[in-house]
């Protein structure tokens, strides 16, 4: 369960009795929450890193992280058929809003979204499970996964075809999960 608790106090009409208005406030908050959550998921799915990894071992390096050479799926060392994006998507989808009570001025609710650390923990490198490939996207990844793939006769399928390209590639760090969550934490706080 996501544990990034963002407390929100939704103010009702100051002079009105909040108890009467609370169902309406709850619905309004839920709608706003869902809208931002969907926006967050859509932005994640549209991120060039996500798009490139979802496209698998034959994708071009649209994220530009490898200088246009090879692709991230093979560089990180995933095996053909792996779905590295699913755990992140599951965590983002599990975000929820919880209503905590009514105050004289409105309703109190909390939004729970995953933390960056939770996502890092759920996204292990295929060759070293204590390491996170999402953290690596932000702070640097070695080409070891690709070299190991080469030793294993190209587990990711695209590894061998793109071998010369990736061997020369130098990974460029890119903002990914942390920036996304920072942005949407602020948006949820504005609910």
């Amino acid at each position: 369960m996501p544990d990034n608790n963002i407390p929100i106090i939704k103010r009702g009409v100051r002079s009105a009795a909040p108890r009467i208005l609370s169902p309406e406030l709850r619905n309004e908050t839920s709608r706003a929450f869902l809208s931002i959550k969907n926006q967050m998921v859509a932005e994640f799915l549209g991120h060039p890193i996500t798009v490139e990894i979802m496209a698998g071992p034959d994708a071009p390096n649209i994220s530009g992280t490898l200088g246009g050479r090879g692709n991230l799926f093979s560089f990180i060392g995933f095996e053909e058929g792996d779905d590295p994006i699913k755990p992140i998507l599951d965590l983002l989808y599990s975000s929820f809003v919880q209503f905590n009570g009514i105050t004289p001025t409105g309703i109190v609710s909390s939004v729970f979204i995953p933390t960056a650390d939770e996502i890092f923990n759920e996204t292990p490198m295929p060759w070293a499970t204590g390491r996170s490939w999402t953290f690596g996207i932000e702070r640097g990844i070695s080409g070891l996964g690709w070299y190991l793939n080469q030793s294993g006769a190209g587990r990711s399928g695209g590894g061998l075809q793109a071998s010369q390209q990736i061997a020369a590639a130098k990974f460029k760090n890119t903002q990914y999960i942390s920036a996304l969550l920072n942005k949407y934490t602020k948006l949820f706080q504005s609910l």
Partner: protein, 279 residues
């Protein structure tokens, strides 16, 4: 070039790392042995006596470690006052006054892991298969070639650095990723290192200037004795903070793809400090 932030980080981290491993893990053993006559093309002016081990413990704040201060030549102790130089980095004794064929013995504390600061990528370190632990290490009757990096070892490298605005007045939060590749001859020691440093999350260590590094060009202590705790205590209030540590092992499946029989682990340190880089 004048000393820069990166130089200070490397000095501070490597000294802290060495001390932390020896202190928390007792990752050394005291032993005695013979120093064999050896040669070194870089040091033709000295007579060389090399042990069959690599790095000796030089930090006297490590309780119980036998810090080498000299050696016995035909039963007579010869120390620094006799012109003896202890090369802690290569496990050797250097001297201009002791005849090259002399029988030399000594007692010293040997590190479980040699520690090296390197500029090589992980794939260069691991895939190129340069480091293979020899089955008869330490060799009973031979010196190890000087300057060779020898496994079991930990290879530290500074990867990326990033400044983010932190406070008015130009203060930045500087984040640095420091990576360590551990190559061990057995899985017990590898697990020990990973466990010790996994617990280093939220630790802080002192910022030490580059010039405070205790080892000189011969591998000996500049001003004996070297004591990390005293050095850190005397070095002002600046700190590096370890925000996160990721510890992991190369998976068995991947390990089988490598030709040598080395157990490999990784430590990724996310280190913060607050500074005024433009002042």
């Amino acid at each position: 070039m004048r000393e820069q932030f990166q130089h200070s980080l490397i000095t501070s981290f490597s000294l802290w790392f060495d001390h932390y491993l020896l202190d928390k893990g007792d990752a050394y053993y005291n032993t005695t042995g013979t120093f064999h006559p050896a040669t070194d093309a870089r040091l033709t002016s000295h007579n060389i006596f090399a042990s069959p081990y690599k790095q000796f413990v030089s930090d006297s704040s490590i309780t119980g470690a036998n810090i080498c201060s000299g050696a016995y030549v035909t039963g007579v102790f010869k120390g620094r006052s006799d012109g003896v130089i202890v090369d802690f980095e290569n496990g050797r004794i250097l001297s201009t006054g002791i005849a090259s064929g002399s029988a030399m013995t000594g007692s010293f504390a040997v590190k479980d892991f040699n520690i090296y600061f390197v500029n090589e990528t992980e794939e260069d370190l691991i895939v190129e298969n340069k480091y293979t632990p020899t089955s008869d290490f330490p060799s009973a009757n031979a010196a190890i070639t000087p300057y060779d990096m020898t496994v079991p070892a930990i290879f530290i490298s500074s990867e990326t650095m990033q400044n983010d605005p932190f406070a008015f007045g130009g203060q930045d939060k500087t984040r640095t990723l420091v990576k360590a590749v551990i190559m061990s001859d057995d899985v017990y020691k590898l697990d020990g290192v990973l466990s010790i440093f996994s617990d280093a999350r939220n630790e802080a260590f002192k910022i030490l200037p580059f010039i405070s590094h205790p080892i000189n060009e011969y591998g000996d202590i500049k001003s004996p004795p070297y004591n990390y705790t005293s050095l850190a205590d005397a070095s002002g209030n600046g700190l590096f903070y370890i925000d996160r540590v990721f510890a992991s092992k190369l998976s068995d499946k991947s390990k089988k793809l490598l030709p040598n029989n080395v157990f490999i682990g990784f430590l990724d340190f996310d280190i913060y400090t607050h500074r005024f880089p433009r002042l």
